[in-house]
């Protein structure tokens, strides 16, 4: 692959590495506690399996990005890398979607199930988690861009337009 095709992919993978690493770190360092009528509210990311899944997926994706940054581009694993890119993009997508679902319940509550929102009591935790979700969203989008760019390299879209 020529240099003009290698540089955008390298930059995209670097961006994906940054996004996934920052999502993991921001989610890990999120915690807050509040005191309410003698009850102590302690909010950490380990309280919910969804956030643990989010941290796990972003850690795996950041390790994968790190490995692929240093891989030579014209290796014989082209197919495998494409499939792994697809799987990583899907995993990141599922983790962000699940966290959004749980975060929506935490912010707005669910009156039918009798679940009260918790963001009023632990606002710092909610803001921190929102920041981590934004980074995770950026990571998912960048992974899909990587996949589309790989498809574009394969398809040679300019050939189709003539």
């Amino acid at each position: 692959m020529s240099l003009s095709k290698r540089i955008p992919i390298f930059l995209l993978r670097l961006l994906a590495l940054g996004a996934t690493v920052s999502a993991t770190l921001v989610m890990i360092t999120s915690h807050d506690s509040a005191q309410l009528f003698n009850m102590k509210f302690e909010a950490k990311y380990t309280n919910s399996p969804t956030f643990k899944y989010f941290v796990l997926m972003n850690a795996i994706a950041s390790g994968y990005s790190l490995i692929l940054l240093f891989l030579p581009s014209k290796s014989s694993y082209g197919h495998l890398i494409l499939i792994l890119d697809l799987v990583m993009a899907l995993l990141l997508d599922s983790s962000i979607s699940a966290c959004l679902a749980i975060g929506q319940v935490g912010k707005n509550g669910n009156s039918h199930a009798g679940w009260l929102p918790i963001c009023g009591q632990v606002p710092k935790f909610c803001d921190h988690v929102t920041g981590a979700l934004v980074a995770g969203f950026v990571a998912a989008i960048v992974y899909f861009l990587i996949l589309l760019y790989s498809l574009h390299n394969i398809m040679n879209l300019f050939f189709l337009k003539t």
Partner: protein
């Protein structure tokens, strides 16, 4: 152009012949269509009503009716929409697969099918995972956030939504396989072609 010829790497990766692969793909897509369709239908018809006694005044019990519907949770609404979309997409791809040789797409279908597949796989994965984690929250509750579990009261609602989630996850796996096979075939298909100006000659 030189890079195009240089891309002709392992073009003979597939050990299955063309028509057998097509048949296998059609079969997989049929299964995926049924899986996503059943997930949509089961979740859309998911409703349970329960009457519980709140208080007793004298000898007259005061009852209240609680309903569990899928519309109460945005995650399940998104699940129904995503799986409905995916089942429509699978149906469309089945139709295109059967009528394909009659319609001449001039190469646009070779690009549109994998990209559409990719989009729908992403949407279904988002919907399925959101529903799975919301279901886990409903089944176990969250003691740290003081959220009670609801599955002990609405057991058939939980069972049915669990069945819909399993069907959707099976459909997601099948669609991922189909999508990756399409992408690999795209790569092989393009690496076998040598572009000669405007005429397209497929050189095997």
């Amino acid at each position: 152009m030189a890079s195009e010829a240089g891309e002709k790497q392992e073009s003979g990766r597939g050990k299955v012949t063309g028509s057998k692969l097509d048949l296998a793909l059609v079969l997989l897509r049929l299964l995926a269509f049924f899986a996503t369709l059943s997930a949509t239908v089961v979740m859309a018809l998911n409703k349970q009503t329960k009457t519980i006694v709140v208080a007793t005044i004298g000898t007259v019990p005061i009852t209240t009716t609680l309903t569990a519907k899928f519309q109460h949770t945005p995650a399940f609404v998104f699940f129904v929409i995503a799986n409905g979309n995916a089942s429509l997409h699978n149906l469309l791809m089945l139709v295109v697969g059967f009528m394909g040789p009659k319609w001449n797409f001039k190469g646009l279908a070779h690009l549109a099918i994998p990209v559409l597949d990719l989009m729908n796989v992403a949407i279904v994965s988002g919907g399925a995972s959101a529903a799975v984690f919301m279901g886990q929250l409903g089944r176990d509750g969250n003691s740290h956030a003081r959220w009670n579990k609801i599955c002990d009261k609405f057991d058939s609602y939980c069972d049915r939504s669990g069945g819909a989630m399993i069907a959707s996850l099976v459909g997601l796996m099948l669609m991922t396989v189909i999508c990756s096979v399409n992408i690999i075939r795209l790569r092989n298909h393009n690496s076998n072609k040598i572009v000669l100006d405007s005429s397209v000659n497929v050189v095997p």
